[in-house]
Structure formats: structure tokens, C-alpha cells
Amino acid sequence: MKPSLLVILVGSHLSALGAGWWCLGKRGPAPINIPASALATKSERSPRLERRVSTADLLAAYRDPKLRDEAAKRRFAELSQGELPRDVAPSAAKSSEQRAAEIADIAAALQKEVETLDAGKRSDYKLAKALIVRWMKEDPAACAAWLGQVKMRVAWHDLWAAFAETLAPTELIKLMDHGWLQRNREMALRASMQHMGKTSPADLPAALALLDAKAVNSYLDEAYLYARVEDAVVWLQLASGDIRRLQLLGNRWISGPGLDWKWEGDQLVPSNPWDQNWLEKAEAALAAVTGTPAEEIFRKKLEYQLRESEKGRELARVALEPADALVDLYLQRGEDEAEARRKASADIWEKYRDGLSDWQRESWEQDLRLSLAGQRELEDVLIGRLDSIGTELPEVLQEVTRGSAWRDAMLVDSVVTLEVARQTGRMEEVVKSATALVRQVDTSLSAQADILLALAAQGLWEQTSDPSESDNRSMLPKVAFFAAGYLRDDPEAARLWISRLPSSLSQFVKEVAR
């Protein structure tokens, strides 16, 4: 080959390489494009105004247990780090001296918590927990040694939970075997079992193999308390032949809403969201044990739960109907008439005592949210609520339920609320609710001001200039007194408020101010 040809060949190959670099490198798969803002701290991250995720996708993500779990884990991870005091916050690179100093700081901070408790003060459990997690990451043996000798305190369960979450269970048990947890071995084992029960029952056999039979017997139940039906196979295998532990699993997996039901629109649903699909869960558990000795245990459990929840459902239904229906229910169960009546009224009393002011609360709150968002008129929403109270609730319960509706509505728009009360002829009732709200120390000053302004506009908040002539009827604050407080708290809003008062009142305020 001629040298000139060689030069041409080398040159052309090099230029091919260069051309590839230049052209394909740009167009090729872009490097993970993470905007700097996504990596910055929460406070550094400026709000992004453009859309990145569609509303449907994000809503779906919040319904997806896996994605929610991932988000929750990250929130928690950020939280555990965020709680560390500045002096022990992890730094990117640190020397062994720095590390030793940090560990000393953590130990000192924990010791301070102990002293705080000993002095009869409240301890910061969140902080203590974060310190344990951090220490376990840096030096598990030293942390376990400290935890192993410390005198146990009430409510220090969190510390042990933190401890158990940081290392694999078998590693934790090895730590204990090194004698680093002698005094508090029990707490450590308990926490570790609970953690395994919650997250990784598959790790249990290996961990149990490291323990003596006595320890297994004493602490294994802790793990069962957290058994998830999704891991049924592992659990049933572990408990096979052990009736008591199978009972534990049955209790945990077959648990219905019992008496806790509520109305959602015109449907009765379990009040606890956890119970929404209890039957599905229970049936899955039953299916998992079919053909095994546990089947009988699980089936009985399910029958009992079905009966209980039927009773609860019926109770919730008849709570809104004549009590006779409930009495009938007891009669059908063989109670005599007197006993049935007594039980029925006890049940109703209990149900009502829970607060019928909360009656159909969810849909009422939804309506209020919609009216705050401008999607529905408060007037319609409120009239609808008053109507259903009038037609669906026993008379004796109507006033208290209306009272709470007035208060809620008043906080959304007091002018409209008063107008609805005027239209429906319930002025006295609404003034009572308004007065209660204004007098309540917890009501925000601006809400009080709004309500007072609305009352004043209707001539329901009048002041006499004669201080001896106090207005006992309304129990509302004196206008000058209220204005002074409002001016101190929020001068700008207060001045606007004064200018909007009926002239007699604003004149009065100005005179007093002078």
C-alpha cells in the first residue's frame, strides 16, 4: 500500500469517528435529562409552572399502592434525614475524625434526650429515632451497645422500631449474640419480629433458626400481629399445625367492619376505608387454607364477622328509621320485648351520641368545597342540606344538626347564610350559631369580622353608646372593643372592615378611637 493511501485511509476513518461524535452524539438518546431544580432541596426547588404529568396519570398514581408506597418511602427517607440536628447532618465526604466526632455527637444528643426524660420533660421521640437510624448506619455495634444498656422508658418503642429497620434481622440477632443488647434483648427481639412481620416474613425462618426455642415461643407472636394476607403462603407454612397461631392469622385477616358503617349518598359503606374490601381479603385468606386444618377456623371466623357486620349495617340503616325496626331485629334474635327495646335504645343512643351533627358529613363537606371553588352556589347547597335534615332526620335531632350546618356555611359566606336563614324563617337559630362562633376563642379574627359585618348589615349587631345598657340578648362583643383588637392584628383589613360597617357603627368606632 502506498503511504499516501495509508494517510487517506487513517484520515477518513478518523473523520468518520468525528462525524459520528458530532452528529449521532447529539441526536442519540439524550442523557437522563434531570433539571437541576429536580435535584435541589425542597426549598431550592422553584415551583415549575409547566405540566409534566397529566391529571389522569397523577390521580391514577395516587390510587396505585406501589407508586404511593414508593412516594411514601421517599417522604419518610427525607424525613429521617431532615430531623437530624445540624451538627450531625451527614456531609458528602468526611474523614474518620469527622465521622468519630459525628458519632460522639449522636451519642451525646441521645444522652441529652435521656436526661430530658429523667428531668420529667417531654422527649423528642422523632429526633431520638432519627439519631438511632443514623447511628446504626455509622456504627451498628456501638449503637446496639448503647441501646443494650440504656434504662428503658415509656414510649421508647419507636427507638426499637428504628433499630430493627436498619439491619437485616439475622445481622441484628448476631449483634445481640455479641452481648451488645443483653439488658434490652427483649425489646430488640420484639421490635425485630414486628418489623419482619410487617415487611419480610420470608426472612423469619433464617432469623428463627438463630434463636433458641424459648425466644421463638416468646416473641414470634409479635410478628404474627402484622402478618399480611398477601404473604399468606409464607405465614401458613410457618404456622402449620399450630392452632393458636392459625387463630392469630384468622383474627388478623378476617376482620369486618362490625358496627362501623356510615351512609355515603344512599349507600351504606364501612366507615373505615380499610374495611371496604374486607370480604375480598377474608375470602382470599379462606381460599389459601382450603383443604387444610385451618379451613374450619377461618370459616367460623368469617361467619362470625359476616353476622357482626350485618348487624352493624342494619343498625346504621335503622338509626334513621323508626326504632321499631331495630327492636324487631332484637326480637328476631330471641330477646324478649323489654330487653329488645332496652338494647335498641342503647344502640341508638350510642349512635346518636357519636354526633349526628356529623350526619352525612362527607357529602356536605364536598358541597362546601364545591361552593368555595365556585362550582356550586352556597345558597343551593345550604338549602339542600336544610331540606334533607328536615325530611330525613328525626325531629329531635334536627336542630343540633342544623346548628352545625349554619356554622360551617357561615365560615364560607356569612351574608348568603343569613339570607338563607331569613328565607327559611330561621333567623333566631342562625344568630345563635353566629354568636357561638364569634364567641369561640378558636375562631379566627377575620372569620369573626366577616360574621359580625354580615350581622351588622342586617341590623343584628347594634351598639348603644351608653355602656350601662349592655346588650345581654346577643352576647356579641362591643364594636369598639372588637375594632381595636382587629386594628392591632391586621390594620389594613380592619380599616376596610370599619369602612364597610353600617354608618352608625363605623361612626361609633371612629368616635371611640378619637
Partner: protein
């Protein structure tokens, strides 16, 4: 040139062309990661932007995304969601807190504030301070408690800013919040916090009392005994001194240790000491100190040459007898 050679040349050129493209892609990935590294060093919590997390819409969502979903979810029967609010706070506390202002009164409202304080504390403090008035449908005590709690968290990082933020609240909000604000802060942080706050007008006695009670309570933790008495000795405001002395006496009584208390009194000037004398007289005659405590106080008084401090008390006791 033979066809075979031509083919070989073509293949080798195309190969190198592709290799160049690949190399360029690789080398660009690196700087991208390195460039964002400094931000990670100061992170409160490193955000693991792996492809896995980026696949999760919740972790990718922007302020605008959260707002849209929030608007949709408050129209549903369940209403907003604490989780959603919590995630929104991480990217846009301002927007999230404004959204809370559009909720009616409800028992579940506290869940939002609690989550914000617990998960974001310091990070949401400025937004919380800015928008708390919009939460007018929520119980004020509850709002105050969580607001002061967030500023308390901020104070652990940047006490002066926290002091200024808290100072920007109106008196009604501040007064009940001091205990929360100072809770568990150390002496140096409290000093910085106070430095950040605008000074109170001389006639704001009640607020000053609340403030110094909060300070005393924070200082009065185990191992901080000296802290409280040092602050007492150095107080240059009558109200502050009155509160710190009262709390100091409670502490000395509880711990049966009066030496530190009277050592601090000795370091005060004559006017301040006269005030303390009156307070000690009042306290010893009004409070049921046990005889041992009274004799301990009396011994300390004598040691410091405050011989006449308990005279009034003695006279009263005798009269009673």
C-alpha cells in the same frame, strides 16, 4: 479497487461513525451528573432521580400538576388528600398552602397542617407565614401551633430568618406561639432568634411575658440549669427579669439548689436586685415552701449579704403564729 476492499472500507467507516456517536453520548452523561452534584451536597435529603423514580408520576409532578389534581380531588367525595398535599409541599409550598385556604371547616384539616409540619417543617415555614390568614376557616389555635412548629424547625437552621418571620406575625398570633417557637432550642439559637425579631413596644407587657416564659421553658431543660440563670442575670428588661426570676425560683425550688440562683442575683445591678428581692419576698410568703427550702434560701441570702430579704416573710409568719 476491488469490491471486497470497498465493502470492508464502508463497514469500517460506518462502524467508527457509530462508535463516535456512542462515545459522545457517554461523555455527555457524565458532566450532567457532575454538574448537579454541588446541589446534592447541601441537600436536606438527596432526591434519588433514578430512572425508576422518574417513572413515578408522583415524583415527577410539577406544581402545576399538583394544582390540577388537587382541584379535581376536592370536587370528589373524599376531598383533598393529605398525601397529595404533602407531595405538593415538596415542590411548591406557596401553592399548596394557598390551596388549603380553599377548604371548608373540617376535622381533617389538621391532618394537612400536621403533615406539613412533620415532613417539611422548615421548608414550608415561609409559605405558611405568608398564607396563614387564608386558613381563616380553621381553628386559630391549631393553625398557630403548627405554624410556630414550622418556624421552630426553621430556627434550627437559620434562627435569624426564623425570628424575622415570626416577628412579622401579628401580636395575637405571636403571643400564643412563643412556647412552640422556642421549644427545645439551645441558648445560642434563642439569642439569634431574638436578634431576628423586631423589638416589642415597651407597653406590650403581656406579649413580653409570653415570650420570656417560652424562653425560660426552653432553657429549663436538663443540663441547661446554668443557661436559665445566666439569662436571668443578664436580662435588661423588667418584664423579662420578672419572668426569668419567677421561673428560676421554681426551678431552684424543684431541684433544691439555690446557690446558682443567688449567684446570678449577685451579678445584677442594684436596681435589678431590688426587683428580685421583692419577687423573692412575694414568692416566699405566697408559696408554701417547706421549712428546709426556706432555710436553704435564708442561708443563701446570708451568704450573699442579702440579710434583710426574708424579713417581711418572717414577720408575716410570726403574725400568723
Amino acid at each position: 479497487m476491488k469490491a471486497g476492499t470497498l465493502c470492508l472500507l464502508l463497514v469500517s467507516h460506518v462502524g467508527l461513525l457509530l462508535a463516535g456517536g456512542w462515545l459522545a453520548g457517554e461523555s455527555r452523561k457524565e458532566p450532567a451528573r457532575v454538574a448537579s452534584a454541588p446541589a446534592l451536597v447541601v441537600l436536606k435529603a438527596p432526591v434519588r432521580a433514578t430512572e425508576e423514580t422518574l417513572g413515578n408520576p408522583i415524583l415527577r409532578a410539577t406544581a402545576a400538576d399538583f394544582r390540577a389534581v388537587w382541584d379535581e380531588s376536592i370536587a370528589s367525595p373524599q376531598g383533598g388528600s393529605e398525601e397529595l398535599f404533602n407531595d405538593w409541599c415538596a415542590v411548591d409550598p406557596d401553592g399548596a398552602f394557598q390551596a388549603l385556604g380553599r377548604l371548608p371547616a373540617s376535622k381533617s384539616n389538621e391532618d394537612y397542617l400536621r403533615a406539613a409540619r412533620m415532613y417539611h417543617g422548615a421548608d414550608v415555614a415561609p409559605a405558611f407565614v405568608k398564607h396563614w390568614r387564608k386558613l381563616q376557616r380553621m381553628p386559630e389555635d391549631m393553625v398557630r401551633f403548627h405554624l410556630a412548629g414550622c418556624v421552630n424547625e426553621l430556627a434550627k437552621k437559620d434562627p435569624e430568618t426564623a425570628g424575622a418571620l415570626f416577628g412579622s406575625l401579628p401580636p395575637r398570633m405571636r403571643e400564643g406561639g412563643y412556647v412552640c417557637l422556642f421549644s427545645r432550642q439551645d441558648s445560642a439559637t434563642i439569642e439569634q432568634l431574638l436578634k431576628g425579631m423586631p423589638s416589642l413596644p415597651p407597653d406590650a407587657t403581656e406579649e413580653k411575658q409570653a415570650l420570656w416564659k417560652g424562653v425560660a421553658e426552653a432553657l429549663d431543660t436538663a443540663g441547661a440549669q446554668r443557661g436559665l440563670w445566666e439569662w436571668m442575670a443578664e436580662a435588661d428588661d423588667t418584664v423579662a427579669r420578672r419572668v426569668l426570676v419567677t421561673e428560676g425560683m421554681k426551678k431552684a425550688g424543684r431541684n433544691e439548689d439555690w446557690a446558682g440562683f443567688f449567684d446570678a442575683v449577685e451579678r445584677m445591678d442594684a436596681t435589678a436586685r431590688a426587683e428580685v428581692r421583692d419577687l423573692v419576698r412575694q414568692a416566699t410568703s405566697a408559696t408554701d415552701y417547706r421549712p428546709e427550702a426556706l432555710s436553704a434560701i435564708s442561708a443563701e441570702c446570708q451568704r450573699h449579704g442579702f440579710d434583710d430579704w426574708l424579713e417581711g416573710h418572717g414577720a408575716k409568719k410570726q403574725l400568723k403564729e
